[in-house]
């Protein structure tokens, strides 16, 4: 079970849900610009950032990429087995190295409750 740092998770439900959790298959990465990331600071780095991102896509690491259309930032779906693996990948991006972008990482797995449809309800 991954470390639970999310205050919105209620301890009493964790044992009940644990049985329903499958493997981590993707990491959702929500990238936001930090206070250091002023337009002037970002401008010279951006072409490098874009190229590094494309390289990660071509390497099969960043599977999906999106721009947040109501705010400045990006959303990636990363092929990684843990948030640590995704963190290592994303912190090497130029804006990450420069401390101008940081990512909220959410580990994702298959929608386990679908098992209910095949006659295997999550164990309790």
């Amino acid at each position: 079970m991954p470390d639970n740092k999310n205050p919105r998770v209620h301890a009493e439900m964790l044992p009940a849900l644990a049985a329903a959790v499958g493997p981590t298959t993707k990491i959702l990465a929500i990238g936001s610009v930090t206070a250091k990331g002023t337009p002037e600071a970002i401008a010279p780095v951006l072409p490098h950032e874009v190229r590094a991102t494309v390289r990660n896509h071509l390497a099969g690491k960043i599977e999906q990429w999106f721009f947040q259309t109501e705010g400045y930032g990006v959303v990636f779906i990363v092929n990684a087995k843990s948030t640590a693996e995704a963190h290592e990948l994303l912190e090497k991006l130029p804006l990450g190295v420069a401390g101008m972008m940081e990512f909220e990482l959410i580990a994702l797995g298959p929608l386990a409750p679908l098992a209910m449809l095949i006659g295997e309800p999550p164990r309790t």
Binding site: M1, P2, N4, K5, N6, R8, V9, H10, E12, M13, L14, A16, L17, A18, A20, V21, G22, T24, K26, L28, I30, V33, T38, P39, E40, I42, A43, P44, L46, P47, E49, V50, R51, T53, V54, W65, F66, F67, Q68, T69, E70, G71, Y72, G73, V74, V75, I77, I106, A107, L108, G109, P110, L111, A112, P113, L114, M116, L117, P121, P122
Partner: protein, 148 residues
């Protein structure tokens, strides 16, 4: 439905979004050639909203004894929304706090309405944060060609 809407939040604050958009346009103007500056400034940033990221999280009321009896119905409604073409991708959050959907919906209100009809939403057990998404706009940097 109105309760669901009240409880749900669209992530972006318009004012912050605007400020950041202005900053981004300045950024692109700095890296782009004269040709891009000749266009309307916003055209550098404009990408349409094509998807919504919906992050569902159990509320304080969402204890197992509340959601367990509803789970089978919740799953079926989720599959129905997928079959209707509205949910494009579905995931379980591994920290066990809820689900993540990528939705083929561009209006956050529509998404919140659809998701608010689910049993968990009706019972106030889960709420969704919506993040509107579009094509990765900075990719446009790669299209800037040297001046002829």
């Amino acid at each position: 439905m109105s309760r669901a809407l009240d409880k749900c939040a669209v992530r972006a604050h318009p004012l912050i979004g605007f400020a950041r958009a202005v900053g981004f346009v300045a950024m692109l103007a700095a890296v782009g050639p004269a040709a891009s500056r000749a266009q309307s400034p916003s055209s550098n940033l404009d990408v349409p909203t094509t998807k919504l990221l919906a992050i569902g999280t159990f509320t304080a009321q969402g204890a197992p004894d509340k959601w367990k009896p509803l789970l089978a119905a919740e799953v079926r409604d989720t599959v129905r929304l997928y079959l209707a073409g509205k949910i494009d991708q579905w995931y379980l959050k591994q920290d066990q706090s809820g689900v993540v959907f990528m939705m083929n919906v561009t209006d956050p209100k529509e998404a919140l309405e659809l998701l608010g009809r689910f049993p968990f939403g009706q019972a106030g057990l889960m709420e969704f944060q919506i993040i509107p998404l579009g094509p990765i706009a900075p990719l446009r940097v790669l299209l800037t060609e040297p001046a002829k």
